[in-house]
Amino acid sequence: MSWYLSLPLIIPFIAAITAFLLRHSALGRWVSIIGSGLGLLASLALMSVVLDAGVLAGQMGNWPAPFGITLVADLLSAVMVLITAITGFAVAIYALGDITERQEKLGYHALFQMLLAGVTGAFLTGDLFNLYVWFEVMLIASFGLLILNGGKEQIDGGVKYVALNLISTILFLTGIGLLYGMTGTLNFADLALKVEDVENQGLLTVVAMMFMVAFGVKAAVFPLFFWLPAAYHTPSFAVSAIFAGLLTKVGVYALIRMFTMVFDHDVSFTHTILLWVACFTMVIGVLGAAAQSDFRKILSFHIISQIGYMILGLALMTPLALVGAVFYLVHHIIVKANLFLIAGVAHKLTGSTEVYKIGGLYKSAPFLAILFLIPAFSLAGFPPLSGFWAKYIIVKATLDIQMWFVAFIALAVGLMTIYSMTKIWAEAFWKPHPDGIEPELKTLQNKTALLLPIAGLAIMTVIIGLNPEPFVQFAERTAAQLLDPSAYITAVLGDAS
């Protein structure tokens, strides 16, 4: 068993237990930060190993695959684990200034670390049922975080979030049962080999659709996204940032994994549905955002519309499109988490997230305004920021196969994104505050803890944007692995297969 694979999982678990025991003392928050920092180092180590040695696989308890539980890190898993750790570290620091003492005593830091463990596990596992278990770890932690010390709003949003996510979980479980009945295995690598032998390929497509719906709910695609805008604007800002950055992306990751590796038997059917889903998701999400006036609600709807781009990359299934999907995934997590963190600072400075009720941030807190402009423009796809390259690759992929209409939708949605970002800019930053408040960053408590992660994530956006070449090359290698999973299969099952 390789320590590189298990450390990114063990560290958050240990941190969670320690933080839980220390929840009544001020040490708990430092445990969370140190744990996230160590997790970041562990995932950096994993990344460097995977970059050098290719796919890394480890059998838990030394049961040989496909009988035991396998942990696998190919490039996609490794980059997702790394980006999870980066976001986790940033939010752990931000939590110093955002999470109240009451929430800490109720066990915020333990739940947060548990969430990171669940997300990391979902990215690393090579076994379908184990993926279900990690989904549950992630879900129960997110349930706790969502309603921690909550009032009416949090409970109300929580009910919808819990209800719809539980249904998707059960659907996922049913799909696992049926797929096991047809193939007799749950290991991804083994499944990839065995699905070809299934007699009734039509039934396999039915099961594929069950997975599509189950993961679709998690990823918040059209028409299954309703839980997201109902819940994401209610919890603490640190919590909603980590949710916005990571949770839906686990669904996208699961879709990419299953629909490139296992369910590639009837691409013309399944991926055509994905294509329509992607287009509707982009359009509905961005239109929903246009109708909102709450900082976080606008951003929540934009998560949905951006998920559409990633699904679009998967649906086209060309090498370039998958490059775009991977690039988009990484770019989006950084940018989206950052925007939610900024919403938190804006709320602390002005007292509200309703953009029509606040204002004046550009004049009194120009530094925050610049920090907002970077991820906001990146989200909308302005060159030279990371979002431009992500959108460029996806649109190029659609043009390459003459899907003019889809390319038009992708571009139009980008334009609409600018509209929403401009609305936040004009209302929250440019116009004077309606109550005449001139909120200054100086007055902010725990200023460093709040601004440091925002600045760090913004710098990452700029770096990816100014120097996209290595990141695109990385995404190309990742996409090649996704389209030809033979290295993955060999790493898991050995050469015998």
Binding site: E136, I155, D156, I170, L171, L173, Y180, A231
Partner: protein
């Protein structure tokens, strides 16, 4: 046996959908637990049923001699039951807290976190 259990799963799913379409949150949760039991049974049946043959390996050999029941789906179901139980307990408490703080279990009236209806 498989056919009988499949029919039972169908009935469970039908009942759970009926319950989940109700506006009462508690009925929704009851529907949810029926659905999760249907899912567990699906895993069980999909692993093929071999009645009366426990998967026990006799002393002195490495593998079972005769045909035995598939133990893996049973292990999966067991895991799923435990996880489902935990989640359901959470959901029940959440429903109770929702009733306490919102004063209703009618899902149509649970709109605190959403925009006012026009």
């Amino acid at each position: 046996m498989e056919q009988l259990l499949s029919l039972l799963i169908g009935v469970l799913v039908a009942a759970s959908v009926y319950l989940m379409l109700a506006r009462n949150l508690l009925r929704f949760l009851f529907g949810l637990i029926l659905l999760s039991n249907a899912a567990n049974l699906t895993i069980f049946v999909a692993g093929r049923l071999t009645p009366g043959a426990p998967s026990i390996v006799p002393d002195g050999v490495d593998a079972p001699i005769d045909v035995v029941a598939n133990a893996l789906p049973q292990a999966l179901v067991l895991t799923a039951i435990v996880i489902g139980f935990g989640l359901f307990a959470f959901a029940l408490i959440l429903a109770f807290r929702a009733y306490q703080s919102l004063g209703t279990l009618n899902t149509d009236e649970m709109r605190v976190a959403e925009p006012k209806e026009q």
